[in-house]
Amino acid sequence: MASPPTTPPTPPLAGRKILIADDDRLNVRILGGILRGEGFVLADAGSGEQAIEVYTTFLPDLVLLDVTMPGIDGFETCRRLRASYGNQCAPVVFITARNESDDVVEGLVAGAVDYLPKPFKPKEVLARIRTHLHNRILSEQQKLLVDQLSKANQAKNKFLGMAAHDLRNPLASIRGIAEFLREGALGPLNADQLDLVETIHGASTSMLDMVNELLDVATIESGELKINRSPHDLAELVSRAVGLINREAGKKGTHIVFEHPPGPVIAPIDPAKMKQVIDNLLTNGVKYSPPGSTITATVGTDPATGRATLAVRDQGPGIPDNERDKLFKDFSRLSSQPTGGEKSTGLGLAICRKIVDAHQGTIGAQNLPQGGCEFRVTLPALQ
């Protein structure tokens, strides 16, 4: 992977290339005298056509362009340069004898960044040129940084995806084979052996979960998260998840209570993806509440907006104010720890937010006055 890009210091302006296009040789000489003293590298042209020709080989960092020249005028020269080089085009500064606003406006419309009125005042000329060269350099650096960052990000996602894919299969085999041993399919195990096999099973299961979350992030970040929304019963999805997760929660003496109105709560959702959100919020509630807690999951429809909501209330420590903005970000584990030795990748809520965003819904968390925290997902109304 590329090393993280760093912001280079702004390089000195000496050595930067300036093209002066003016049919008046005296102007070229005066400007040349001012600029050469500052260490700029100069080239000149006596007409617009010649300026365009010199530009292609000289590739200047800035162009000084006289408005009135034989052949095509300065405005047209500027337009042609902009048309050929687009955003990469060096900044163009007009030289104008008549300090008339019409000229200035036409020049700026043609794509120039500034103008220099004649007669020249050396300090003003240098100050303006320095400013535009600085801007040019900064925008070049910015473009380079953005390129580097987006390449590094792509490489990261590719690496994440590959690593996760390649880790998945062997982990699934380890877990599966441990299941065979645990069930005594290959002969009975004594208590110590069973304990070891349970450890192998537990460790491979949590590694698989972690790898799956990494894969989710890689998929989402590479823009491959596809949501197929159709009307589904949110209450049924939650009910099924509560049933399954209560089995695990029971080991901590924790219980999830499910509250819902009679009848279905229909919302436009991708059931497989929404199941991930539901599972995550429920297991988080169990994970971060002390053993023996009661977690409440509530599903309903807001009668005013027709939007379906899911709220999960836990009895954990709540979210410290100074950590609130980290909550739904990648790899952001907060100070609170799972209460039963469970694992956390710090990715679960980030994935939830991305899935809910893709559903055009909202997700938020709020500390409750009586203690604990409420996570609330609101989904768009049916069309």
Binding site: R168, S173, I174, G176, I177
Partner: protein
């Protein structure tokens, strides 16, 4: 199809072959022959004439798709169930178009794999040759 007596299990990863063999032995008592790559799979198919081929999608060199295509050339009636790791809809769809009978996810818990295989074995009708397209 009814429970197959002989199964060819093709996967480049030995641990997957071991894992899936354990599951197959738990469901029924088939003869299992294994191949670790596509070329071997074609040779073993011709030598052993299994009733079912379980075929990994992702393999180096000759991948599952190419192996499937060649198997169908050798024997248009051969029954192939693809082994996939992530529900990669695109490759599954392509495999079904190429004549695969079904697919199972090998990265799911063993009971799910066992159930998927039992369902496939219990499915009526697939043991007859697929209708030839006019």
């Amino acid at each position: 199809m009814s429970f197959p007596g002989k199964i060819l299990l093709v996967d480049d990863e030995a641990h997957i072959r071991k894992f899936v063999s354990l599951i197959l032995r738990q469901i029924s008592q088939p003869v299992i022959v294994e191949a670790g790559n596509g070329e071997d799979a074609l040779k073993t198919y011709q030598a052993e004439k299994p009733e079912l081929v379980l075929l990994d999608v992702n393999m180096p060199r000759m991948d599952g798709m190419e192996t499937l295509r060649r198997l169908k050339e050798i024997d248009p009636d051969c029954v192939v169930v693809m082994l996939t790791s992530l529900a990669n809809r695109e490759s599954v769809e392509r495999a079904l178009e190429l004549g695969a009978a079904n697919y199972i996810r090998k990265d799911t818990p063993k009971d799910e794999i066992a159930k998927a295989l039992t369902d496939i074995f219990a499915e009526p009708g697939t043991d007859e040759a697929p209708p030839s397209t006019p």
